[in-house]
Amino acid sequence: MKTTRRDFIKISSLGIGGLALSTSPILGWVPSFLKEDDNTPDDSTAKRYPNYCEVCFWNCAGWVYTNKDKDGNEKIWKIIGNDDDPNSNGRFCPRGTGGIGMYYDKDRLRKPLKRVTGEDGNQTFVEIEWDEAIDIVAKKMKEIKTKYGPESFALFKHGTSGKHFATLFKAYGSKNMAGPAYSQCKAPREEGFRMTFGHPLHSPEPLDIRNTRCLVLIGSHLGENMHNGQVQEMSEAIENGASIITVDPRFSTAASKSKFWLPIKPSTDIALLLAWMHVIIKEKRYDIDYVEKNTSGFEQLKNHVKNFTPEWAYGITTIKPDIIRKTAREMAAASPAVIIHPGRHATWYGDDTQRSRAIAILNALLGSWGRRGGFFNPEKAKLPKYPMPAFPKPKWSWRDIAPDKYPLAKMGVTNLLIDGSHPDKKEGHKIKAWFVVGTNLPVTIPNSKRTIEAIHNQEFIVVVDTMPSEMAGYADIVLPEATYLERYDDLRLAQHREPTIALRMPAAKPYAETRPGWKMCKDIAGKLGLSEYFNYNDYSEVLDWQLKKIGSSLDEMKEIGVMKLDRKYNDLYFHEHMEHEFETPTGKIEFYSNGMLAAGFAPMPVYTKHPEPPKGFYRLIYGRAPMHTFSRTTNNPYLMELMKENALWVNPKTAKDWGLKTGQRVWLQNHQGAVSTFSIAVRVTERIRQDSVYMVHGFGRLNKKLTKGYGAGISDTEMVTDVKIDKETGSTGMRSNFVTFLTEEPEKKEKTV
């Protein structure tokens, strides 16, 4: 995060020598009255093309500007937000602004690659033509279908173009598809909220932050995670004098803006949440009318939290009882304009659905769901589906890999597909081949050793990406994708206060021989006899067809980029005089959940004690930096300048114990013996608890083809081998690992791909 002027100066001073030789001071001199301004760009003469961002899942809509370079060629110049876009309000975050780095990255994939084994037994990639690549993929898909059935081919996907591949797979006969956005991120939150309110939150989360009086962040580091609209609204809330309560073992940026910072002992959040409920119920500070009208199981909850006093929680969380009381009263005073933020990356300790339930219940006690300054009711635009035949019905799906597990999971569980792909899967349904689109599994799924064992057990792997990711290193065939700046995709129909439609269109021709995902799918489908599912020549035809059905057109959207629609219903907030029907079994917000009980889980959240770091070890916490999105940006030429590698945050007392200094490089070893491939620079800082260390996720890239990202810092995923599975949803708890410092480089084999 820290960008110091000195770093840049150091680099720029290298240029001095060259400069003195290349200019002639005398000839360069002009009288000041003749001074002309330098050639400067001008928005009014530049061309602009609408797009929505693909550097993260927030998908902000904006404009891609092009202008002419010195040689007169039209080039992508900059990206700025679209004022009509509710996700960005016309202001992109650094990643969106730096999205042009995805286009200009010199390490991009250029041409399809095929794995070949030489006479010496060494495997290498060779460049092949698209026709050959498509032929091989289609032939293998046919072969797998004949040998094992289409269900044995799994699709891992992330991002917008994943939708084209999902269509291909459904047409082919496999519903075995999953993405880390669920089981490595939102699953416990979505299902915890579904079990409470009957409704998951989706994205962007419908939080009325700009109108809130009190925002409670639990492990959510808004501002470091640049969930754009939310960061903007947090700023508005600060301006309006709202109070912020941040619960985080680290003094995050958000903590520094907070009235209260609660540096909680990691893994004890549920105890704090229960104590807050205790105070709010005991002191009758909950929204009595709301609770009476809208909830079920209040008496059971009251009884449940009776003994969870702040004094009880103090011993667990290390947060003082009077701070627990003060913060409970602070949020209750703001009720119903209060938000206990549901978070997004919620896969921490393996009891994450329960923690999400606790957060949901606390919100319900304070009456914030459906209220101004709490949770609003979002609306999403609907478009008619482009005609295609019905999909065949697969014989089995991801759920059948372990039918008795994870009953609350509502979407494909990535790690379950990996379980089905692993050599230790002896019985039942097995996965035999992978299609991986825009997701970097070895860096994303914890316990990468197991992922790689599953990879080696596959008969065939296709990877679609724009970059030589670690995953691409394991592919049999690599299909190079055009970036979002060079292609059409589906219209974005994001939920928000008002529904909108946003267009993505190319601002430049696809780089080298890259192609858009839809084109790959259409060509593969052609070879599989599935052309009727891709009945168009160019994806723009699909968009124009859909837009014309609602009285617009592609041409209109090219002019405006974002179309704002009116809400169908006037129900952004609850109407106080009306009864509300929730989509739960009782029709009410469920404090007590019979559904949870029937599925074999606690009907109300309970605190479970988790392992603590052994002596000499520290809990590894990871998170985000505002200029990076996981491993997606850790080679981006613009964003890497802002943060070239991650650093290890270490409390001064810990540093003293180990004799560590800021800038010193260390290697890490976790409590199960996993050793980091690379080293990381220590950052000694008061901003973290003594029992924890922190690093930004997505660094320590292993693929040598990534000239900026390779070996820059440590991959936190590498250090996460002890995974705590959330039994409700199957998602992977990853804050459950402890590391110690190795101050000398450990001996080991190079582990690069």
Partner: protein, 177 residues
């Protein structure tokens, strides 16, 4: 007319969008920048304070950079914006030495470069790129001579500070604290 900037450190999250927006808007080569983020942490765990600032040329009233420039390439245009005429600059570096804010750098094409307040945008009625992009709306740009401008009101209403006041350069970027 006196252009200036006010930056609300209470809202800034240090995301560095101002840095990238400046780099793309002004086609700054990789490895160089006209603006940057600074952080100051004070206190001891758990009683801490963090200040995050977006920094750049302060477009000072009293400009050692312009005074020390031997060719006149460093100059002041309407509204007090300090600029460098690239064609006239001999890259002697005197201005870089004289600046208390480290706000200037050697451009690899052979001249000294710095923040222009995006005067090419300002003359069209637009905000500088950094201001227009900031997701937290923590930056204000405008005419400090006009008491009714947003920036004048913001500066008047809030507790503000400037950086390195001891240098005596009368900087025109105000930080809300």
């Amino acid at each position: 007319m006196r252009y200036g900037m006010a930056i609300d450190t209470r809202k800034c999250v240090g995301c560095s969008d101002c840095v990238v927006a400046c780099q793309t808007e002004n086609s700054i080569p990789h490895g160089y920048t006209r603006d940057w983020i600074s952080e100051t942490v004070e206190g001891m765990y758990p009683n801490l304070a963090l200040e995050i600032r977006s920094e750049r040329c302060n477009h000072c009233d009293d400009t050692p950079c312009v005074r020390t420039c031997p060719t006149g390439s460093s100059h002041i245009i309407e509204g007090g914006i300090v600029k460098v005429t690239h064609e006239e600059c001999i890259g002697c570096g005197a201005c870089i030495e004289s600046c208390p804010y480290d706000a200037r750098y050697f451009h690899p094409e052979g001249y000294v470069d710095k923040c222009t307040f995006c005067d090419h945008r300002v003359k069209n009625g637009q905000d500088p790129a950094c201001v227009s992009v900031c997701p937290t709306h923590c930056m204000y740009f405008g005419d400090l001579d006009d008491p009714n401008s947003e920036i004048s009101k913001v500066v008047a209403k809030n507790k503000v500070k400037v950086l390195a006041p001891e240098a005596g350069t009368k900087p025109q970027i105000f930080y809300l604290v």
